[in-house]
Symmetry: C2
Subunit: 273 residues, 2 copies
Amino acid sequence: MRQATGIWLDGVPVGDAWAQDRGLHYGDGLFETLVLRQGRIRFRELHTARLAEGCERLGIRLDAASALPAAERLAGAQDALLKLIVTRGSAVARGYAPTGTEIPRQLLLRYALPPAPDAEDAATGVIVLKATLGENRLLAGMKHLNRLEQVLARAEMRDSSAFEGILCSSSGLLACGTMTNLFLVHEGVLRTPRVDRCGIAGVMRAVVLREAARAGIPAEQADLLPQALASAQEIFLTNARLGVRAVTQLGERRLPVGPVTHELRSRIASLDA
Amino acid sequence: MRQATGIWLDGVPVGDAWAQDRGLHYGDGLFETLVLRQGRIRFRELHTARLAEGCERLGIRLDAASALPAAERLAGAQDALLKLIVTRGSAVARGYAPTGTEIPRQLLLRYALPPAPDAEDAATGVIVLKATLGENRLLAGMKHLNRLEQVLARAEMRDSSAFEGILCSSSGLLACGTMTNLFLVHEGVLRTPRVDRCGIAGVMRAVVLREAARAGIPAEQADLLPQALASAQEIFLTNARLGVRAVTQLGERRLPVGPVTHELRSRIASLDA
């Protein structure tokens, strides 16, 4: 029972390839979304560190240090958005238990880099979604391949014109956006939800926290109730592709692009990596 | 940015195939584990109904009614264990949001059917795991492809001789085994954890509840604390492959195969489907 004795894709017999990959069967893997500019992945060391930590936590034996340099070499000179998927590899035996002898796979996808929004002016509305995120300390923070919660959250936004949807955890705390990390500013203090029960420890989130420290902006990772959105003077979203994206509309309320958002955005935009 | 402009697998350029499948990228799909005996999938109608409900909930446009008959035709005459994976199909655009125009994929894997354990005597120990399951009402009950929680739960059992590990939900209620549903008997009353916050609505679980009703055994789906394990006179596990599997050891405690387990196991073993 260790290996399949027949495999069909849409009714046609096929060889192994992806058919027994644990990434497909279980979402047993990780990914990184990477911005390639002038032949260099932005924040390559931070992405590498997160990938290495995820592999460590899942027990995937990948040489993470070589993965992003290899991706740079493959992707070529043109600016691009890259997605690197790492899976544990094909199943050695049926069932959930990894054997430890699987050979990890790396899949790299290159996409044209969308034009940067005119960040000063881009209207960015957010709504708070009904969908919530399950809490699991073993998975929290990792950029793993189990993303059905995000798929269903985006499906909830089908009829909305909002740019992003904000998710709470199943225990009612603010967590993140469907594709972004969330930052709030209260009286000059920068706050972002902790990512130890759900959510992803975004690389751009880490950059924001680092740059806030450098700029002398007080910052904390905190347990935040949804009401903290309404009381925030500034709200912004982050991810590798968007950088720092100011929220200009929260439900019916319009928000200015405030000084903390402005300073962090300028600092990060001007970083080499 | 809608389609990838380059794809590499382990450094080698590849065509589309699975590389953009949302099952791989997000676990955006479902699966069924099926026992094929004498050319017929056991409990085919129940598996079909669950698959159809999962597709409905995820918005995957599959003709679920035709999927299992097609699997029977492909798999041939020999008794086998089948795994049917249904994904939403290749991504039409980058990002979590489905467009509704994806074309679902069906992947069927056939495995040799393992010999049935000598159920009367098979020693079956269980342990309660530290790993817990996140709670998400939008996902609960579905046999979807986000199974990293089960992978990590099985990894926790690496050094254990137990047959199965029992998981609680993040809010501390009994949920299920890593690959089974869980049933307890207290003073003649059959109880199984609800599956509306986490866990899978197993087909064999449904069969047990149906057969209990037919046999006049009082049964309920309930919120159960872990202490309910210790106070149970009988415990058994279910899934499509194992049928009803009596638990004979809970930690240090030995359990008999009691009358409720015995009756349900006999009834279900004798069913045609």
